[in-house]
C-alpha cells in the first residue's frame, strides 16, 4: 500500500543550514592538530582544498559535521575545526545518516576510503545512496590499504602484488562510480586530488546538491601504491587518459583541436546500446554524445563509467556523471514527524498521560 508522502519542495543541500555572520577564512577551518599523513600523501592536497573551499560555502562553522570511518583518509575530521567524529571502520555513512536525519540545520560530510567504504562498509554506502540522505561522501580512492600497510583493496587491479597477495590478487575490483550509480545515487562524481580547480568545482556542486552526493577522489598513496594515477596526472598523458564530463557538452578527449577545442577522440553510442570511443573526425558531429548529468535514466552515465580501466588506470572519465533531484530520506522522515506533531494538541506530558491511560483501563480503590 502506498501513501502520499507529501513531498517537501526540493532545495539545495545547504539551504537549511544557518549562514555565517561574515566572511570566513581557511585558517578558521583549520584545527590545532598536527597533520600526520605520510609526506607526499594525496590527502594533504584534498585537505587543503576542503579547508579553502569550506569558507566559501558561507555556513556557520558550528553547523558543519565531518564524520569518518577508519583508514588514512579517516583522520580528516581531526584537522578541520568543525564538529567531527572519527568513528569505526566502514560505519561512517550510518552515523552520518543519524546526524543528518536528526538535524536539518547541519551540513554533513563523510570522509572515507576505498577499503572503508567499499569493503567493510559497503552495505552502509549503498543504503545511504539508496535513501538519498542529505550528505556528501568523499571517497578517497588510492586503490590500496595504506593504514594496515599495503594490502590490496576492493579497487585494486586484478593480479596486484601486495603483502597479502604475494603471487597476485584474484578478486575483480569495484568501479566506485558504477557502484554508486547502481545504488540509485542521485549525485555521482569523480575527481582527482591534484587538480585543485576541478576538485573544488565538484565539491561545490556536491554541497549544493540536496541528497547523498558521492564524490570519488583519485588519491595517490606514495608509500604503498605510488604512481597508480600517473597516466591521468602526467601532463604528457592526461589529455588522453582523462575523459572530461561537462554537462551539456559533447564528450571528447585526446589531442585538442586548437579551433574547436574538441579532442580527437569522442564518446558515441555503441551498437549494443552502450557507449564507446570513436575518432572524432570519423563520426558526424550529431553522433557525438552530449553529456547529460540530469538524465533521469542512469543508463548512459553507467555506460560512461564502464570506460574506466579496471586494471592499471590508463583511462578514466572524470567529472559529474549524474546529478538528479530526488526527495531525501531525512527531509521525508522529518516531514512525517512534523506532520504528526501538527495534528496533535496538548503538551508532551499531557499527551503521554493520555497515551498511558488509553485502551482498556480499570481503577482499584
Amino acid at each position: 500500500m502506498s501513501t502520499d508522502l507529501n513531498l517537501p519542495t526540493l532545495r539545495t543541500g545547504t539551504e537549511s543550514v544557518p549562514a555565517a555572520d561574515g566572511p570566513q577564512t581557511a585558517k578558521e577551518f583549520t584545527s590545532d592538530q598536527e597533520v600526520r599523513w605520510c609526506p607526499g600523501c594525496g590527502d594533504y592536497a584534498v585537505l587543503k582544498a576542503v579547508q579553502s573551499f569550506l569558507p566559501g560555502l558561507g555556513l556557520r562553522r558550528e553547523n558543519i559535521v565531518f564524520v569518518s570511518g577508519i583508514g588514512c583518509s579517516s583522520r580528516f575530521p581531526y584537522y578541520l575545526d568543525t564538529y567531527g567524529m572519527h568513528s569505526i571502520h566502514g560505519r561512517a555513512p550510518s552515523i552520518a545518516t543519524g546526524i543528518a536525519t536528526a538535524r536539518e540545520d547541519l551540513s554533513v560530510w563523510v570522509v572515507t576510503g576505498d577499503g572503508d567504504a567499499l569493503s567493510i562498509g559497503g552495505n552502509h554506502l549503498i543504503h545511504a545512496l539508496r535513501r538519498n540522505v542529505n550528505m556528501t561522501i568523499l571517497l578517497f580512492n588510492n586503490r590500496i590499504y595504506g593504514l594496515t600497510k599495503g594490502q590490496y583493496s576492493p579497487t585494486s587491479e586484478v593480479g596486484k602484488i601486495t603483502k597479502s597477495t604475494p603471487v597476485g590478487s584474484l578478486d575483480h575490483p569495484f568501479n566506485p562510480v558504477s557502484l554508486a550509480l547502481g545504488a540509485e545515487g542521485s549525485f555521482v562524481a569523480r575527481t582527482i586530488d591534484s587538480d585543485r580547480k576541478h576538485l573544488t568545482g565538484v565539491l561545490e556542486a556536491a554541497a549544493a546538491h540536496r541528497g547523498t552526493s558521492f564524490v570519488e577522489i583519485y588519491q595517490n598513496c606514495p608509500i604503498f601504491n605510488d604512481g597508480a594515477f600517473d597516466a591521468i596526472k602526467d601532463n604528457d598523458t592526461k589529455e588522453h587518459a582523462i575523459i572530461p564530463l561537462v554537462h551539456g557538452e559533447p564528450i571528447t578527449f585526446g589531442s585538442r583541436d586548437a579551433t574547436t577545442g574538441m579532442g580527437d577522440k569522442a564518446l558515441v553510442r555503441s551498437a549494443g546500446g552502450g557507449v564507446e570511443v570513436a575518432e572524432t573526425g570519423a563520426v558526424s558531429p550529431d553522433q557525438l554524445l552530449v553529456h547529460d548529468a540530469h538524465n533521469p535514466d542512469p543508463s548512459t552515465a553507467f555506460a560512461i563509467s564502464r570506460l574506466t580501466d579496471a586494471g592499471y588506470l590508463n583511462r578514466s572519465p572524470i567529472g559529474i556523471f549524474r546529478q538528479v533531484e530526488r526527495p531525501t530520506y531525512d527531509d521525508l522522515a522529518r516531514a512525517q514527524v512534523s506532520d504528526a506533531r501538527a495534528k496533535v494538541e496538548g503538551s508532551g506530558p499531557e499527551r503521554l498521560t493520555q497515551l498511558l491511560n488509553a485502551g482498556d483501563t480499570w481503577s482499584v480503590g
Binding site: 544557518p18 584545527s31 592538530q33 556557520r60 562553522r61 558550528e62 553547523n63 558543519i64 559535521v65 564524520v67 575530521p77 581531526y78 578541520l80 568543525t82 564538529y83 567531527g84 567524529m85 572519527h86 568513528s87 569505526i88 571502520h89 560505519r91 550510518s94 552515523i95 552520518a96 545518516t97 543519524g98 546526524i99 543528518a100 536525519t101 536528526a102 538535524r103 540545520d105 547541519l106 552495505n123 552502509h124 543504503h127 522522515a333 522529518r334 514527524v337 506532520d339 504528526a340 506533531r341 495534528k343 496533535v344 508532551g348 506530558p349 499527551r351 503521554l352 498521560t353 497515551l355 498511558l356 491511560n357 485502551g359 482498556d360 483501563t361 480499570w362 481503577s363 482499584v364 480503590g365
Partner: protein, 662 residues
C-alpha cells in the same frame, strides 16, 4: 434448554489455549487476558509460539499456545501447570498434555481429530475414542470433546462465508465458551472485534456471532455443569491497564523523551522478539520520535550514535545476535561517552538459537562482550510492566553519565503481560540533558596573560573535562558556537580529548571510564530485601524476568513454614553499593537464572561469595514449584533440619502459586 448451573468459587485459575500457529491462539489468549484484566483479577501471561510464521499445519512444531494465570490475589507467575487446556487439534493436545496436573480439564475441538491430523501429531489411535476405557491415555483428566469447528460453522452460516473462513472463527467460539465458564465480561472483546474487522463486516459479524455462540453454548449445554468465579484481586489503588513488556518498554522510551525534552531516535533492524518496540515507536512520531529501519544491526546503532552526537536520545533495539553485531559500535559509544540506549530483548542462544523463546544468557555478553576495557551500565526489568520504569531508568543513567546503557529484557517479559499500575508522569525522575553551551577551560596562554594573577575567563572547550560528582563529560552538540570539537574511537587525552597514545594517559582513561560507571551506584536507592522474619539463613537473588518465579517459590517455602530471604537486582552494573554487605548476612546465597550461572559468576568474582546456581535453559520461565524444592533443600542444609515442603512443593495437589502470607 437452560438449566441451573452450579457456581464454584476459586482463588486462581491457569488456562492454556493451544492450537495450530494459524488458529489465532495468541489473539484468543490475549482477549481472555484483557477480559480478566478489566474484571479486576491479577494476572500473568505466557505466550509461547514457534519461530515459523506458519509451521506445517497440524504438526507438533506448529503448535502455538498462550497461558494465562488469573487470581483474586496478587500473583507473580503465569503458573507452572495449567488447570485447563483448550486444544484445537491433536498436535496441540499432544504437545501440552504432559504439562497438566492430574484432574485438569481438557477441552478439545473434536472436529479436528481426523485421521490426517492424528497422523500428523503422531497418534496411532484417536485418544478421544478411548475415553473411559481401561487404557484411556487421558484417564487422569476431565476431557470435554466439543465440536468447536462444526458449531462455529453452523452459527455463522448466515454470513455466507466460505467454509474455511467460517471455521476460522472457531477461536472466538472457544473464547466465548471459556468466557462463560469463568464469568468474564464480554464488552471489551465485542468492541475489539468491531474495531479489528471494521473493514470486513462479514468477518466482523461472524467473529462476534461465534463469540456469542460459544457463550450461549456454555449456558445451555449439559456438557458443562459448573461455572467458576474468581473474584477481583485487591491491588494497590490506582488506574490499571494490562500491558506487555515490549509495549511498556516502548512507552518508557517515549516517557524518557518527554522527561528529558530530547527527541527520541531509534535506529533498529527487525529481530524477534524485539521488533514490536520498533513497530510501536514508529506510531508515535507526534512525540518527536524518529524511527529508522536500518540496513543492518550495525547501521541501526550507528544511526543512533549519530543522532546522540547531534543531541537526540539515541536508542537501538535488538536481541542477542544483534548485540554481537553491535559490539564494536557500543565500544565507540563508550569511548566517545555519548548517551545511548542499547536494548537487548534476550532470546535462546547461541547463534540463531530459539528466536521466540526466553533466556537470560546475554548478561556476560552485555557486561564483557567488547574489546578492551569497555564498561557499560546494565539495567534489567523484572516484570512486563516494569519494562516502563526500567527504560526510564536506563535513559536517566545514559543521559546523566554520558554513556551507553544496556537494558536486558527477555522474550518472556516482551510478550508476557500483567496488570500495570499506570504511573503519574510527574513522579518519574527528571532527566536533564544539560548540554554544554560555554567554554570550560583556561588555556596556558590565557592563564599566563593574567599578569595580576587573577583567574582568566575560559577560552577553550575541553570535551573530556569531567563533572566532579558524576565524572560525566560535557555534551556539546553541533550547532553550538565555539564548542567545535572532534571525538572518535581513538584514545582520548584526559580533558582536552585530543588523540593521545601515551601510556600513563591510557591507564588513567581506562580507570576513569570504569570509575564513571561505578559512580552511578551512588545514585541508586538501597537494595530492598524481602526477609519477613528477618531470620532467614538463605538469600535468593536474581535479576530480570525470574523475579516472578523466585517470588512465587519463596512464598511456597514460607507457606511450608521455613524462612527465606529474596532480593532482586535492577542494576547489574554497577551493583548497588550495599549488595556486598547484604550477601554477607546470609549463610547461603542461591542464584536462579535462565542461563548456566552468569550472575552467580559475577557475584563470586565481585564479592568472593559462594553463590550457588540454580540454572535452567529450557526457553521457558523457571517453574516455581521446582525452584521452591531447591530453595527448601538449601534451607535444610543451612539450618540443619529436614525440609519437606509438602503440598507447597512439587507434591500434589498444590500445583498452584501460593498467595503471600498476610
Amino acid at each position: 434448554m437452560s438449566q441451573t448451573k452450579q457456581v464454584k468459587q476459586l482463588d486462581r485459575v491457569i488456562i492454556r489455549f493451544a492450537g495450530d500457529s494459524g488458529d489465532g491462539m495468541q489473539l484468543t489468549g490475549d482477549r481472555f487476558t484483557q477480559e480478566s484484566a478489566v474484571f479486576g483479577n491479577d494476572l500473568v501471561t505466557l505466550p509461547n509460539f514457534p519461530a515459523e510464521i506458519r509451521a506445517p499445519q497440524g504438526t507438533l512444531p506448529g503448535v502455538s499456545s498462550f497461558q494465562v494465570h488469573f487470581a483474586d490475589h496478587d500473583i507473580l507467575t503465569a503458573g507452572d501447570r495449567p488447570d485447563v487446556l483448550v486444544a484445537m487439534n491433536p498436535a496441540a493436545l499432544k504437545a501440552n498434555v504432559g504439562d497438566l496436573p492430574k484432574g485438569a480439564a481438557i477441552i478439545v475441538d473434536s472436529h479436528d481429530f481426523t485421521k490426517r491430523n492424528l497422523d500428523k501429531a503422531g497418534y496411532d489411535v484417536n485418544p478421544l475414542d478411548l475415553l473411559g476405557d481401561a487404557n484411556d491415555p487421558l484417564g487422569d483428566f476431565q476431557v470435554h470433546p466439543v465440536d468447536l469447528t462444526g458449531m462455529t460453522v453452523e452459527a455463522v452460516k448466515e454470513f455466507g462465508l466460505s467454509r474455511k473462513d467460517a471455521a476460522r472463527a472457531k477461536n472466538m467460539f472457544a473464547l466465548g465458551l471459556l468466557s462463560w465458564m469463568y464469568g468474564r465480561p464480554t464488552e471489551s472483546t465485542t468492541t475489539f472485534l468491531e474495531n479489528k474487522f471494521k473493514k470486513a463486516p462479514d468477518i466482523r459479524d461472524a467473529n462476534i456471532t461465534a463469540f456469542k455462540a460459544g457463550w450461549n453454548y456454555g449456558e445451555t449445554t449439559e456438557t458443562f455443569v459448573v461455572r467458576y468465579e474468581v473474584k477481583p484481586a485487591t491491588l494497590p489503588t490506582g488506574t490499571y491497564r494490562n500491558i506487555t513488556g515490549n509495549l511498556a518498554l516502548s512507552y518508557g522510551l517515549i516517557a524518557a523523551g518527554v522527561r528529558s525534552g530530547l527527541p527520541v531516535f531509534l535506529g533498529s533492524y527487525p529481530i524477534t522478539p524485539a521488533s514490536d518496540i520498533l513497530h510501536e515507536l514508529s506510531k508515535h512520531k507526534a512525540f518527536g520520535v524518529t524511527t529508522l529501519q536500518a540496513e543492518d544491526e550495525i547501521a541501526g546503532i550507528g544511526a543512533a550514535i549519530g543522532a546522540s552526537f547531534a543531541g537526540s536520545l539515541g536508542v537501538t533495539t535488538t536481541s542477542g545476535p544483534g548485540i554481537a553485531l553491535k559490539s564494536e559500535a557500543i565500544g565507540l559509544a563508550v569511548m566517545t561517552e555519548l548517551p545511548l540506549l542499547v536494548i537487548d530483548v534476550q532470546r535462546g542462544g547461541p547463534s540463531t538459537g530459539l528466536p521466540t523463546k526466553t533466556e537470560q544468557a546475554d548478561l556476560l555478553q552485555a557486561m564483557y562482550g567488547r574489546n578492551g576495557e569497555a564498561p557499560v551500565p546494565i539495567v534489567a526489568p523484572q516484570s512486563p510492566g516494569d519494562c516502563f520504569a526500567a527504560a526510564v531508568e536506563a535513559a536517566r543513567i545514559a543521559i546523566t553519565y554520558r554513556t551507553p546503557v544496556m537494558l536486558l529484557s527477555d522474550g518472556y517479559l516482551a510478550n508476557g503481560s500483567e496488570p500495570w499500575l499506570i504511573p503519574d508522569i510527574d513522579d518519574l525522575p527528571a532527566i536533564d540533558p544539560d548540554f554544554a553551551t560555554a567554554l570550560n577551560h583556561v588555556s596556558k596562554k590565557a592563564a599566563a596573560a593574567q599578569e595580576d594573577g587573577s583567574a582568566a575567563e575560559p577560552d577553550e572547550f575541553w570535551p573530556y573535562l569531567r563533572d566532579e560528582e558524576t565524572l560525566a563529560r560535557p555534551w556539546a552538540i553541533p550547532g553550538t558556537p565555539g564548542l567545535e570539537h572532534r571525538i572518535g574511537g581513538l584514545e582520548k587525552g584526559d580533558g582536552h580529548g585530543n588523540i593521545a597514545y601515551d601510556p600513563a594517559n591510557h591507564d588513567f582513561m581506562v580507570r576513569i571510564r570504569q570509575a564513571k560507571v561505578q559512580a552511578i551506584a551512588k545514585s541508586l536507592p538501597p537494595l530492598e530485601v524481602d526477609d519477613p522474619s528477618g531470620e532467614a539463613k538463605v538469600l535468593v537473588i536474581g535479576w530480570g524476568s525470574t523475579y516472578g518465579p523466585i517470588g512465587a517459590a519463596c512464598r511456597r517455602v514460607r507457606r511450608a513454614g521455613y524462612q527465606v530471604a529474596q532480593t532482586h537486582l535492577r542494576h547489574l552494573n554497577p551493583f548497588p553499593d550495599d549488595l556486598g554487605d547484604i550477601l554477607k548476612r546470609y549463610d547461603r546465597v542461591l542464584v536462579p537464572e535462565m542461563n548456566l550461572g552468569q550472575l552467580s559468576k559475577m557475584l563470586r568474582a565481585e564479592y568472593l561469595v559462594d553463590a550457588i546456581g540454580y540454572n535452567h535453559v529450557r526457553g521457558l520461565p523457571l517453574k516455581a514449584a521446582e525452584l521452591a524444592e531447591a530453595i527448601g533443600q538449601l534451607v535444610g542444609e543451612a539450618e540443619g533440619v529436614d525440609v519437606d515442603l509438602g503440598e507447597h512443593g512439587l507434591n500434589p495437589p498444590a500445583d498452584h502459586e501460593e498467595a503471600p502470607l498476610s
